[in-house]
């Protein structure tokens, strides 16, 4: 047992302060993203989450360009983009994809411009890679208070909005009939989504941040239908994937072919994807045994 544990954790794993920071930030961000993600999946807004994630690239490259901390760039751009989506009409189910797509297109165009300006004006080798694919091991410990603060804000918003948001996610008409300001709740939720995506981008990069948001939540919703339990399960799954990813990435420093470590994001994303597929197996199996059509039984999960 201890031998296999020793082979799992490479020497120096628990002594490294970089690893401590990565484990702490990873856990906090996974918790927040899991909670927001459950609502994102229930509301069918995965595309908005994905788009907000990609849009962080603009924020990240802009932040490098004017030399402010990455997280500020992420937060600023993400909030602006969420507001733009809200204005163009994300609240109507039909125009939603289009509104998201148009904002996404513009933001990525800007990202292309910023990155090209970066490439020509400054010597920032590795900046695009850090922005796009994240780097748990280069998070400065000075940004931890800010990460914790933003996480607390998101958690508070979700806690306050919990009931109206839940009702609005299941049936907007019912929520409106009960006197809930559906549009305001939707807009506040979008803000929480934007912030949590910015946090996720800090850890696994802008274009992969969706994995942390959608993956654990979708897996949890396949396992349980109760929203409270799903939020809890999503948090646990997210933290598990994050920590296992960090351990494997740390181990991978002496793996072939490059001997400089495989990206953390790759491990985290692969674990999340595998868990999502695995979570679909029990239902499929039950459906087979009953002889029913798995597509019908699995339904929306």
């Amino acid at each position: 047992m201890s031998a296999s544990l020793a082979s799992l954790f490479a020497p120096g794993f628990f002594g490294s302060s970089t690893v401590h920071v990565a484990l702490l930030v990873g856990a906090v961000v996974a918790l927040v993203a899991g909670a927001v993600g459950v609502f994102t999946v229930m509301r069918g807004q995965s595309f908005a989450g994905e788009a907000l994630g990609d849009i962080q690239t603009t924020g990240g490259s802009g932040a490098f360009l004017v030399s402010v901390p990455l997280l500020w760039g992420y937060v600023a751009v993400s909030v602006v983009a969420a507001a733009a989506m809200e204005l163009i009409g994300i609240q109507r189910a039909r125009g939603r994809d289009l509104a998201t797509g148009i904002v996404l297109g513009v933001a990525l165009g800007l990202a292309a411009l910023f990155l090209s300006l970066l490439a020509t004006s400054q010597n920032t080798t590795g900046a695009p890679f850090t922005i796009l694919f994240g780097s748990m091991f280069v998070i400065a410990s000075s940004t931890i208070p800010l990460i914790l603060l933003l996480s607390a804000i998101v958690a508070t918003v979700v806690a306050i909005l919990y009931r109206p948001l839940l009702l609005g996610s299941v049936s907007a008409e019912l929520a409106a009939a009960r006197g809930i300001p559906v549009r305001l709740v939707g807009a506040l939720y979008l803000l929480a989504l934007a912030l949590s995506v910015a946090l996720a981008a800090m850890t696994i990069g802008t274009i992969l941040s969706t994995a942390l948001l959608i993956g654990p939540a979708a897996t949890a919703l396949r396992l349980t239908r109760r929203p409270g339990a799903a939020i809890l399960a999503a948090g646990v799954i997210g933290i598990g994937a994050m920590w296992l990813g960090i351990v494997l990435a740390y181990d991978s420093y002496d793996w072939p072919p490059i001997h400089q470590g495989w990206p953390v994001s790759f491990f985290v994303v692969s674990i999340i994807f595998a868990l999502y597929l695995l979570a679909g197996v029990p239902r499929l199996w039950r459906a087979r045994r009953r002889g029913g059509n798995p597509a019908v039984v699995a339904g929306e999960g």
Binding site: S46, R94, L113, A218, P263, F266
Partner: protein
């Protein structure tokens, strides 16, 4: 701007705009913006893997975009479509991150993959692109009626024996083909704005499907040509200009639609209400 190596660029970009205009019309009509974003974006991993193995990038792009599109189609039947799309996309991107980290000199490489490289198109690339373009436009023409029916009225389509699932798979394959050929020119991240911006703008100008397709191709052509010309003179990424012009044309379309609505409030918007 029009001599020597730029000839390939203009030819290639024109083919890309033709395909993006046609395929994009159905992307917007079916509300498949997310898939149209995910497939090209995820195929980035294929290109990165191909460059790692030292084979032609277009092979990697083709394999990954096909696998991604079919995976989304098959898995999406069981789970939530948008969730599956998101997860398939990030998984492919994660692979891309791995491949990129394994190859030694990545920066200019990923940069041009993600955001396009108009100036680096060789003679050998024009042939395959043209072939893929012909195939994907022919596929759309062949599928036109069932595709139209199942996009606008899926229930009526099923009743007439048009399987929505099979049409969805065919459509995803077309998107994958279009992706494979367009990515080397405008990049994985920005082919999307070409596929969404131009058709969305076209749809606000006209309600007739065929007219909208033609208009969408015209807008896409104008967007790409203008973007290349500006990119050539300013030496900035072409993707930025594609995205900016695409968004401007969409804004113009929205403004036109709003103006027309305010002039004739009694007339229903045919195509919109038909969905």
């Amino acid at each position: 701007m029009f001599s020597g190596f730029m000839v390939n660029t203009w030819t290639e970009a024109t083919i890309v705009a033709l395909v993006a205009g046609v395929v994009g019309f159905f992307v917007v009509l079916r509300g498949s913006a997310f898939v149209a974003h995910a497939v090209p974006n995820g195929s980035f991993a294929g290109a990165a893997g191909a460059s790692l193995l030292g084979i032609n990038a277009i092979v990697g792009l083709g394999v990954f975009s096909l696998l991604g599109a079919l995976g989304i189609g098959v898995l999406g039947r069981r789970g939530r479509h948008d969730v599956v799309t998101a997860l398939a996309l990030v998984f492919m991107l994660g692979l891309g991150a791995l491949f990129v980290s394994m190859s030694a000199e990545y920066e200019p490489e990923i940069y041009s993959l993600l955001f396009g490289e108009v100036l680096g198109i060789s003679n050998t690339e024009v042939g395959p692109t043209a072939a893929l373009a012909v195939v994907s436009i022919a596929a759309v023409a062949f599928l036109y009626r069932p595709l139209m029916l199942s996009s606008v009225l899926p229930e009526a389509g099923e009743a007439r024996g048009v399987s929505a699932f099979r049409i969805e798979l065919c459509f995803l394959v077309v998107v994958a083909l279009a992706t494979t050929m367009t990515v080397p020119v405008v990049g994985t991240l920005l082919i999307f704005s070409l596929m969404i911006g131009a058709p969305a703008a076209a749809r606000s100008f006209t309600d007739r499907p065929l007219r909208a397709i033609v208009l969408s191709v015209a807008i896409a052509l104008a967007t790409v040509w203008a973007a290349i010309a500006i990119a050539y003179t300013t030496d900035r990424p072409v993707g930025f200009f594609v995205a900016a012009i695409g968004a401007l044309s969409y804004a113009a379309g929205r403004a036109w639609a709003a103006w027309r609505r305010s002039r004739a409030t009694t007339r229903p918007r045919d195509l919109e209400s038909a969905r």
